[in-house]
């Protein structure tokens, strides 16, 4: 299974700059903690096999095995990954008033899952724009307190780990693609447990192109605005190409080119734009403000979407084919960019490759990426 | 006062781990032997006395005068060890074929052993080495007995009781009773004497 220990996690991920601060290893044990968006090992742990390493999405993520286990099919279908249906979506009247990024669909689905009793709580990212902190929401008000994009990586899974350790609760997780992958892996890699299980009872995936290093972002913004006054941040749909920062009394537009350097290198090897390892995935709907794209991937996801629609949590519309094609193409583009980047850095391999690898794919895809990498060079 | 010493100077080492009451034991013993008219020189390591380090007191007993507070290598006649690994450590440096030792059997794990970085030697193996490095050695359950008496610190008195009963040094139960009364006050004497007697019984041939 290619599972190694915490010292290897440190060298292969943290020290290699690949950590994106997803929180998968945080609070599983007393050794890993997160502070200010950075995951750190507080004390040396000399185990040769650890859950921290097994479940990290930035090392030994075997995409092919995962796809076979979860989907029963080969990895790298075109574009958005497994998909039962796709639609334009918006929060329904049941969610009520509020400021939502896009169409409020994530909040609506989380609230619906709670109402339906599918889960006892939903792990999501709250806190301030520059200090995202994971929380477990157990009612609508708590969900509403977490709206608004953060753009900085958050150790969301730490809250799951903490709650799981206490035991008993069924949890949903609002997860970025890396966090979704981390959770999916838990169902495959047993360390210290009899039967591996994905601890999340529901995964609501978020589209993601990249996140920003919170400390770097804070330092960058500190030179422009008073950090305490920042109220929200947003990246409007293309072609704007800016990060909009709203403070008490002004609105700042920062060209994305200026902050690209703050994207952790770990994001560059990510092959997943649409959170493929989720039950449902939600993202921006290009060209239609106030709406989201909703991808239903699993049976459980379909049940939730249908019930949510029925109970007024959701409003759905058909997605035009051109939008669908554009989304699929963008997702496939990110996949190939990510895999090629990983390959260039020596971080991509097949299942039987003896060297440590961040990502593993099937032989066929590997050959394809090798070829593309060769052509680029 | 004419008292007999088997060697002059007679070299005795009390060893243990910081916090075990090594210094107290050496002072009581020193005081008892001074009252017998001997010159007593005691060398002590103070720095580690409370902090888990190896601790030694060197006692030199003589009819002639003060000696170096450090016993030369290979010259210990008697080793009183509050901890088995320390007994071995002392014998390696100060032991000789005539050395005798009274050893408390209760290990105190060094930091490296607690953290798992180094093993603590096997008890049986240590006993064998102890036997090889001494003319006579007694391993006694001093801490265990002390705990039964109510406090681990009685281990010191148990060890002194064992030493006194060997007849190696010019001192007896009465001398100790006087010293206990003087240094601890009469209230604490009975329990300490009980410890002393238990110690004596542990090495009785």
């Amino acid at each position: 299974m290619n599972t190694r220990g915490p010292r290897q996690l440190l060298s292969e991920v943290q020290q290699a700059g690949l950590c994106v601060g997803c929180g998968s290893c945080v609070e599983l044990c007393p050794y890993f903690r997160s502070h200010g968006g950075k995951t750190v090992m507080l004390h040396d742990c000399d185990l040769s096999e650890g859950r921290c390493h097994a479940w990290c999405p930035k090392t030994e993520l075997d995409l092919e095995s995962l796809a076979q286990a979860l989907w029963g099919e080969a990895y790298a279908p075109a574009g958005v990954g497994p998909c039962l249906s796709v639609a334009a979506a918006q929060a329904g009247p049941a969610l009520g008033e509020g400021v939502y990024q896009g169409g409020g669909v994530v909040s609506a689905l989380a609230a619906a899952a709670l109402e339906l009793g599918m889960v006892d709580g939903v792990v999501l990212t709250g806190g301030e724009a520059l200090e995202p902190t994971p929380i477990v929401a157990r009612n609508l008000a708590e969900i509403k307190a977490c709206t608004g994009s953060k753009f900085a990586a958050a150790p969301t899974l730490a809250a799951l780990n903490r709650t799981q350790a206490a035991g008993g609760e069924r949890l949903g997780v609002v997860a970025t693609p890396c966090q979704g992958a981390a959770l999916a892996q838990r169902g495959l890699k047993p360390v210290n447990q009899e039967a591996p299980t994905n601890p999340a009872d529901l995964v609501l995936g978020l589209f993601c192109n990249w996140a920003l290093d919170p400390r770097g972002l804070a330092a960058f913004l500190a030179s422009r605005v008073e950090l305490k006054r920042i109220r929200s941040m947003d990246i409007p749909p293309p072609p704007a190409g800016v990060l909009v920062v709203r403070t008490d009394h002004e609105t700042l537009e920062i060209p994305l080119d200026e902050i690209r350097g703050l994207v952790p290198p770990g994001c560059a090897i990510c092959p997943d734009m649409t959170s493929e390892w989720a039950d449902l995935s939600v993202g921006m709907f290009e060209g239609r403000p106030g709406w989201n794209t909703l991808i239903v991937r699993s049976e459980k996801g379909r049940d939730l979407a249908e019930a949510a629609l029925e109970r007024g949590w959701l409003v759905l519309e058909e997605m035009p084919k051109s939008n669908w094609e554009h989304l699929d193409g963008a997702a496939q583009g990110k996949r190939l960019r990510g895999l090629r980047a990983a390959n260039q850095q020596g971080l991509l391999g097949t299942a039987d490759d003896p060297e440590p690898k961040a990502l593993r794919v099937g032989a066929q895809l590997m050959a394809q990426i090798e070829k593309a990498t060769g052509e680029e060079a | 006062m004419a008292v007999e010493l088997k060697h002059d100077p007679y070299n005795l080492i009390i060893t243990g781990v910081g916090g075990q009451g090594n210094v107290l034991a050496s002072r009581m013993l020193g005081s008892v032997l001074t009252s017998q008219g001997l010159w007593v020189t005691i060398g002590e390591t103070f720095g580690a006395s409370q902090r888990g380090g190896s601790v030694m007191s060197h006692l030199r007993l003589s009819q002639q005068g003060s000696w170096s507070p450090q016993i030369p290598s290979g010259q210990a006649h008697m080793v009183l060890a509050l901890e088995p690994l320390e007994a071995l450590r002392v014998l390696l440096k100060y032991g000789n074929p005539g050395s005798q030792a009274i050893v408390n059997d209760r290990p105190v794990l060094p930091y490296a052993a607690i953290t798992g970085k180094a093993p603590y030697p096997d008890t049986g193996e240590m006993r064998e080495q102890l036997a090889k490095l001494t003319a006579r050695a007694w391993t006694i359950p001093a801490t265990k007995t002390a705990l039964e008496l109510g406090a681990p610190i009685y281990a010191n008195i148990i060890m002194l009781g064992a030493l006194a009963s060997l007849g190696e040094l010019p001192m007896n139960r009465d001398d100790f009773e006087r010293e206990l009364t003087r240094s601890l006050g009469p209230a604490k004497v009975p329990r300490n004497l009980e410890a002393f007697d238990l110690g004596a019984s542990m090495v009785a041939a």
Partner: protein, 644 residues
């Protein structure tokens, strides 16, 4: 009853430091001051305990310089006075000592300075003997316990005769060892203090006291030394033993003379070697030296650490070359005697055996081989660690976590006290600099200024409470005033713990046990302009968060006071706050999710590892019941129950 009560004419076994105290009492000392420091501390301690009975004034001063000033005031007002400190204390006091040497004293005044060859309880093996030469003061070195008492008494008389401070040097192996001392009588009579200051500046006994005018006073100082030499020529503390014309002359002083005696016995060489033991080591009496140098051509000098006697003897030997002829020295420069670390009978025997061409075997070869074979069992040395229940372990644990979370490779400048052990791996190896009292804060004040040169590591300093009053305050003033972005963590355990829990200006009692107004540490810091946070280090989370907050604020100097009583303090010693237990069913042991976190990472000696069961457990004999490990355990397996 004080342990200085001794029957005159009778022999007692006492510590070297006790013997020094007895000597001072026999000399009629009245005023005593010092600052704690191993191996000197018991001198002030014992005299403080005897203060009431013998009518003394005894204080633990804020630092060594002030203690010397307090003692000097006694002397200037006609009271015999004594000041005691360890070797580095002399460095601190030396500024005043230089001037006092120039002004001279009135009633007998003795500075007892205790060196620590081998650094048994120090982070240096500094040599304070050299101050005697540098500051032109007479120096005495007792060679055994009896001399420790007798020379102390004589030092007062000498000081009065010369009108000069007398330095009396001890070492750890004398101060902390015990041996036979025959007590002398105690003086009778009352003394009345009065400072005479109406005479002229040049009137030694009635004028104002100053080291100026230098042209006159410096010359007088040297006359005093010349007089000291005359007295030393006749001193009974300088002795020669051995054949009239030995093969080898050993010149030695201090406790080394016992090592020489023992080594000669070990080698059975007393008939071949002469031993000149010097009790007055500065200035050296040249006539006595000349007489003895004439005995033979080979001279071995046995002394610890830096060659002090050796160099001074070589100068004399050169000066008197015409009379004594050429000499072959066998000492440090010649590689016979090491110049670092302490000596012992074995090392001296080795040097003598080499010089005399003797084969020495302490024990039979077969036994040595057995010992060699058993050696691996004792491979793991006992690392010094904080005591069970020590607040420093909890403090450093939280600081370590805070520094790691902060993630900028920040570091801590250490200081002198128990917490200096934080530099050891067994205490997380968390201190990255370690120098003199107060230096941690001064260094941090400097490191804090280096951000302008691109240094992005945050810096902290730690200090104990006693160290804070002793030497940290000026450094903190500097950091606040220069707006250095550093954090000072004061580890306040309410006493001078390292040296045996002496009081300091922050405590409510003085050396003599009388109530005194404590100087409020927190108020001092606030008044200096530092932002102050106070935490209980046993609250690991609050302490970590407070430290993290301080690390994040890079705008100014801040102070975090971590206040919790020392585990050995009279209030806590032997009393467990909690009964602590490990539930073996909950303990995760070596599993992923714990990996022996409490025993492997936290490392309190009160916790042990049961190899058979693969579980942690509490060692009842060692555990001090602080309960901190309960908040360290990730599985909630360690529970604490408050004791009634």
């Amino acid at each position: 009853m004080s342990n200085l009560d001794m029957t005159p004419g009778q022999r007692h076994t006492v510590m070297g430091n006790q013997a020094i105290c007895r000597g001072a009492l026999e000399a009629g000392v009245r005023v005593v001051a010092g600052y704690p420091g191993t191996p000197s501390s018991e001198i002030i301690e014992n005299l403080a305990r005897a203060a009431d009975e013998y009518g003394l004034y005894v204080e633990w001063s804020v630092n060594e310089k002030v203690s010397l000033e307090v003692a000097a005031a006694g002397s200037l007002a006609g009271m015999r006075s004594l000041c005691a400190m360890k070797q580095n204390g002399v460095n601190v006091a030396s500024d005043f000592l230089l001037h006092l040497a120039g002004s001279g004293v009135r009633a007998g005044m003795v500075l007892v300075h205790c060196d620590d060859p081998g650094a048994l309880s120090s982070v240096n093996e500094g040599e304070s003997r050299h101050f005697a030469r540098m500051l032109e003061l007479p120096q005495l070195e007792p060679g055994d316990f009896q001399e420790a008492k007798d020379m102390t008494k004589w030092a007062f008389e000498l000081s009065e005769e010369l009108g000069q401070v007398v330095m009396l040097r001890s070492v750890t192996r004398l101060s902390h060892a015990s041996g036979g001392v025959v007590a002398g009588p105690l003086p009778q009579g009352e003394a009345k203090a009065r400072f005479e200051h109406h005479g002229t500046l040049l009137d030694t006994n009635r004028g104002p006291v100053s080291s100026a005018p230098v042209s006159v006073k410096h010359a007088r100082q040297q006359e005093k030394l010349a007089r000291a030499v005359e007295l030393f020529e006749q001193s009974p503390f300088n002795t020669y033993q051995g054949p009239e014309e030995p093969e080898l002359l050993v010149i030695t002083s201090s406790i080394c003379q016992l090592y020489v005696k023992e080594a000669l016995a070990m080698l059975d060489a007393a008939g071949r070697v002469g031993v000149l033991k010097l009790g007055t080591t500065w200035p050296l009496p040249p006539k006595l030296i000349q007489k003895n140098l004439q005995r033979c051509g080979r001279i071995m000098v046995v002394e610890e650490v830096i060659p002090f006697l050796e160099e001074n003897l070589k100068i004399l030997a050169a000066e008197m070359a015409a009379e004594v002829g050429p000499k072959e020295f066998l000492a440090k420069r010649e590689g016979y005697i090491p110049s670092t670390g302490e000596l012992n009978p074995d090392l001296v025997a080795e040097a003598l055996a080499r010089a005399l061409d003797i084969q020495y075997q302490p024990r039979p070869a077969e036994y040595a081989a057995l010992a060699q074979a058993a050696a691996p069992s004792t491979d793991s040395p006992r690392e010094l660690a904080f005591c069970p229940g020590c607040p420093h372990r909890a403090s450093f644990w939280s600081l370590k976590n805070a520094l790691a979370l902060d993630g900028r490779d920040g570091f801590i400048c250490g200081d002198i006290g128990c917490y200096a052990m934080g530099a050891r791996p067994s205490n997380y190896g968390i201190l990255k600099t370690l120098h003199a009292m107060g230096s941690g804060t001064g260094l941090a004040s400097g490191f804090g200024q280096l951000g302008r040169f691109g240094m992005d590591q945050p810096v902290m300093a730690v200090s104990g409470d006693s160290t804070f009053y002793h030497a940290v305050i000026p450094a903190l003033i500097n950091a606040v005033h220069q707006r250095s972005p550093m954090s000072l963590v004061v580890l306040d355990n309410s006493g001078t713990a390292m040296t045996g829990f002496q009081p300091h200006p922050g405590t409510q009692n003085n050396a003599m046990g009388q109530p005194v107004p404590p100087v409020d540490l927190e108020a001092v810091c606030r008044t200096l302009g530092a932002e102050v946070t106070v935490c209980d280090p046993f609250d690991l989370e609050a302490t970590r968060e407070a430290a993290l907050k301080m690390l994040a604020d890079q705008s100014k100097a801040k102070v975090l006071i971590l206040r919790q009583l020392c585990a050995l303090s009279p209030e806590r010693k032997g009393k467990k706050l909690y009964d602590v237990q490990v539930d073996p069913d909950k303990c995760l042991g070596g599993q992923c999710g714990c990996n022996r976190f409490c025993t492997r990472a936290f490392g309190c000696p009160g916790l042990t590892w049961e190899r058979e069961t693969g579980r942690a457990s509490i060692d009842e004999v060692i555990c001090a019941g602080c309960g901190v490990c309960a908040s360290v355990c990730p599985a909630g397996a360690i529970t604490k129950t408050e004791r009634g």
